[in-house]
C-alpha cells in the first residue's frame, strides 16, 4: 500500500534458510498420514526458520512448532509459497506480541484449498500428461530417452515453481504484515483471515473428507440406498457430521490419543460392518 510508512526491515529470507525450505519442501509428503496429512512435513520445512525466529524464546518456539504440526494438505510443488508466507507471519508474531497467531493457521488453511486446485490441475493434469506423452514414443522403441525426457520435462516446472513460489510467498507475507499498522487493523485482519479460513474449511470438509455410506437394503424388490436419502436431506452430510462429531470429542477435553483411538476403532468397525466407506469414485 502506498501510504504506509517505509519500514527498515524489508529484507529477503536469509539465503541459507531459503535453501533449507526449498529442499525440505520436497519431503512434504514424507510422513503423510490420514490425521495430520502433511503436517509434520510442513513443520520439518519450517523448522530452521522457526529456530532462528524464536532463538531466545523457548515457549514461543514450542507454540509455533505445534502450530505448524497442524493438519495441512496441498499439492507439493507450490507448497513453498505457504511456507514463505508463514515465515513472514511468524516473524511478525515474534515482533509484535499482540499479534493473534490463529491468523497464521487461518491463512495456511485458506491457501491450501485453492493452491491445490490449481496445483493439481497443472502438476497432475498438465505437466504429468505432457511429460509422459513426450516420453512414451521413445520408451516404446526401447530408447533410454524415454525416462530422461519424462523426468526432465516434469521437473523443470516442479523446481521452478518451488523456487519462485517461495520467493513470492515470503515477500507477499511481509507486505501484508507491514500494511497492518494499528492494533485495530490487525484484529480485523485476523478476523477476516478467519473468515476465509472458515469458508475454506467448510468447502474442504465437503470435498476432502471422503465418507459415504454403502448401506443398501432390498426388501421385497424395493432398493433402499441409504446414501441417496442422505443426499436428499443434505449432500456431504456424513463428512460434516463425522467432522463435527470428532470436534465435539476434542472439545470434551478427552486426551487426543483417546480420540484417535476412538476414530480408528470406530472407523474399522463401521467399515468392516459395511456402514461407511470412502468416496465413491
Amino acid at each position: 500500500m502506498a501510504n504506509v510508512q517505509r519500514q527498515p526491515d524489508v529484507r529477503a529470507l536469509p539465503k541459507k534458510e531459503f535453501r533449507s525450505i526449498f529442499w525440505r519442501s520436497f519431503s512434504l509428503l514424507g510422513s503423510f498420514n490420514f490425521e495430520r496429512m502433511e503436517g509434520l512435513g510442513f513443520l520439518y520445512a519450517m523448522l530452521p526458520s522457526l529456530k532462528r525466529i524464536y532463538r531466545d524464546d523457548e515457549a514461543g518456539l514450542k507454540n509455533a512448532m505445534s502450530r505448524h504440526l497442524e493438519t495441512f494438505n496441498m499439492t507439493v510443488a507450490p507448497s513453498p509459497l505457504v511456507m514463505g508466507t508463514a515465515v513472514a507471519m511468524e516473524e511478525k508474531a515474534k515482533a509484535d506480541p499482540t499479534f493473534d497467531t490463529t491468523a497464521i493457521s487461518a491463512v495456511k488453511v485458506s491457501l491450501m484449498g485453492p493452491l491445490s486446485g490449481i496445483g493439481d490441475t497443472f502438476f497432475w493434469g498438465i505437466f504429468r500428461i505432457l511429460a509422459v506423452s513426450l516420453a512414451i514414443g521413445f520408451a516404446q522403441q526401447g530408447s533410454v530417452l524415454g525416462p530422461i525426457v519424462l523426468l526432465v520435462v516434469f521437473n523443470i516446472p516442479n523446481f521452478l515453481t518451488r523456487w519462485y513460489s517461495l520467493k513470492f510467498g515470503y515477500s507477499q507475507g511481509q507486505g501484508i504484515m507491514r500494511s497492518m499498522g494499528s492494533a485495530n487493523t490487525m484484529q480485523l485482519f485476523t478476523y477476516c483471515a478467519g473468515i476465509v479460513g472458515a469458508m475454506a474449511m467448510g468447502s474442504m470438509t465437503a470435498f476432502w473428507v471422503p465418507i459415504t455410506s454403502p448401506l443398501k437394503f432390498t426388501i421385497s424388490k424395493n432398493h433402499i440406498v441409504i446414501q441417496d436419502y442422505l443426499d436428499q436431506i443434505f449432500p456431504a452430510l456424513l463428512p460434516i457430521a463425522f467432522t463435527l462429531g470428532v470436534l465435539w470429542l476434542l472439545k470434551k477435553r478427552l486426551p487426543v490419543m483417546g480420540v484417535i483411538g476412538i476414530v480408528i476403532a470406530g472407523g474399522f468397525l463401521l467399515g468392516a460392518l459395511g456402514i461407511i466407506a470412502g468416496a465413491a469414485e
Partner: protein, 276 residues
Amino acid sequence: MSLMQAILIGLVAALTFFDGSWFGEMKFREPIVTGFLVGLILGDVSHGLMIGATLQLMWMGVTGVGAAPKIDIGVGGTIGAAAALTTGGSAADATLFAVPVAVLMQLVHTLMMSGFSAFMPWAERKIERGDLRGVVGIHYLCGLIALLVFSVPTALGMHYGTGGIKTVVNGIPGWVQHGLTGIAALLPALGFAMLLDVIMTRKLIPFLILGFVPAAFVGHDLTLVGIAAIAIAIALIVFSLYTDLQNRQSPVPATGAPVPAMANGATSNSDNEWED
C-alpha cells in the same frame, strides 16, 4: 534371479514410494521410469522400457490427487515389469502381475498411513518436551519404515517367486479391507476437526456454513478456487464495513473519491487507488 537383483528391485519399489514422499513427486513412480530401472537391473533395458510403456498407457489416468488413497502404480509397475522380464513374458503378462500388486500395495499404503497417524501425538509430546531432534526423527522414522515396508517384501517376493503375491492378495478377508477403508475414510475427519479446533470461533460458524453448503450442493463443479474467491470477497466486504463503521464513516468520502479498502485511511488520496 540373483539375491542382489532381488534387493535392487526392492529398492526400486521403495524409490517409487519415496517419489511420493521424500522426493517431491518427481515422477520416479511412472512405469516408464521403473521399467527402465528394472530392465537395467535384469540386463534388458529395451524390453523393460517397452513393458514400461505398455503399463504407462494403461495407467495414464491414475492420479494421486486428494486425501483418498489410490492404486499404487509405482510398486505395481516395478513388480509387473520384473515378473515379465524374468518369466520371459510379454508386456501383456506384466499387467497380470502389476494390477493385483498395485491393489495390494494401496492397502499396505492405507495401513501405513493409518499407522503413521499414531506418531502425531507422539510428535506433539516431543514438542512439549522441547525435543526438537526427536520431532525431526519421527519424520525420518516414517521414511525408514516405508523403506523397509516397500523394499523387503518386494525383494523377498522377487527372490522366492512371484506366485506368493497372488496368494497374499486373495488371502485378505473382505472385512479387513473394508475396515481399513473405514479408517482411511474417518481419519481425515479427525484432521479437519483438529484444524477446526484451532481456527474456529463462534463468530466464524456462519462462514463455515457459507463454505460448506455450496460445496456440498454444487459439488466439485464449483472448485475450491471458486469458493476461495467468494470467501476473499466476503472477507474484504466485512473488512470495509468494520473499518468504515467503527469510525462512523461513509463508504466513500464526500468528494466522491473512494477510500482504499485496506489502507490506513489517514493519507489516502484517490489517485493512487489502483496503483499501490
